[in-house]
């Protein structure tokens, strides 16, 4: 992916040299046309076209923001309820992610989701131990993590 971005920059500079115009407008024009050329020639790269990855990263960022707001509303409800009726506990979650940065992003996301906080990642990077504020909806939380977060992270790293 980094190679494709670099190539696109390179094409933009070639456009600037060809048109003998060294303004930022010329750079953006060159970047745009270079992107089109790279899209046309995408089957020669060994990864997919990099704009799809960029869109996936943006999606992940939006998930981060919306989860942060949701988590705060959930915590707010627990704190301001008159009686403490929650049932905290620690549960284990198997993860399919392998690379270090993926697991870091996943545990940051889990920390920001409603009522969950990562305590420990096991030695072999396969299990996350998560402290949940309300253990009753663990299965729900597990499904959420599996379906939305892991999927979004995989989408970025593919």
């Amino acid at each position: 992916m980094a190679f494709q971005i670099l190539l696109n920059f390179f094409l933009a500079f070639i456009w600037m040299f060809l048109s003998n115009d060294y303004s930022s407008l010329a750079f953006f024009k060159g970047y745009f046309f270079g992107g089109l050329i790279m899209f046309a020639l995408r089957r020669f790269f060994d990864h997919r076209f990099y704009l799809i990855n960029v869109i996936a990263v943006l999606k992940l960022f939006f998930i981060f923001c919306s989860e942060l707001v949701k988590a705060n509303i959930a915590v707010l409800k627990v704190i301001l309820s008159p009686r403490l009726s929650m049932r905290p506990g620690i549960f284990a979650l198997e993860t399919e992610l392998e690379k270090d940065w993926e697991i870091t992003v996943l545990s940051n996301l889990i920390t920001l989701t409603p009522g969950t906080l990562v305590i420990e990642v096991s030695e072999d990077n396969k299990t996350l131990y998560i402290h949940a504020m309300d253990i009753d909806d663990v299965e729900q939380a597990r499904l959420d993590i599996k379906n939305t977060f892991e999927k979004a992270i995989k989408e970025v790293s593919r």
């Binding site: 915590v75 906080l117 305590i119 420990e120």
Partner: protein, 118 residues
């Protein structure tokens, strides 16, 4: 226009202050280290972020001056506070701070036992 921007700024800053207050109440009210850490690491993050965002909006909309340092501050808080929460949690667990009596489940304890018996 200036009224609308004042409204946005005021709303963001008040919201941030409210979240910080709720985080503080949570730290006092919740029963054990772990649940307190939930309140502190989540609500305080959003509180600080929205106060900083309100400040950024104030400079942008009223003084017409984009202050990039505030945006960097938001990014740093956003990235570091979950990690800080995780580290405090882990240190507490490893030094043997007990869970609340009403906690129902502890998978990590089982895993530790298996590890020791090996």
């Amino acid at each position: 226009m200036i009224e609308i921007s004042k409204f946005i700024v005021g709303f963001l800053i008040l919201l941030g202050a409210l979240f910080s207050l709720i985080a503080a109440i949570g730290v006092v009210r919740l029963p054990d280290t772990y649940t307190r850490n939930h309140a502190a690491s989540k609500s305080a993050t959003l509180g600080v972020i929205s106060i900083l965002l309100g400040l950024f909006m104030y400079y942008l909309l009223i003084d017409h001056h984009a202050n990039a340092r505030i945006l960097l501050g938001i990014i740093f808080v956003f990235l570091t506070s979950p990690v800080a929460g995780h580290l405090i949690m882990r240190a507490a667990y490893n030094s043997g701070v007990p869970l609340w009596e009403k906690s129902v489940r502890d998978d990590l304890k089982k895993a530790r036992k298996v590890e020791k018996s090996r």
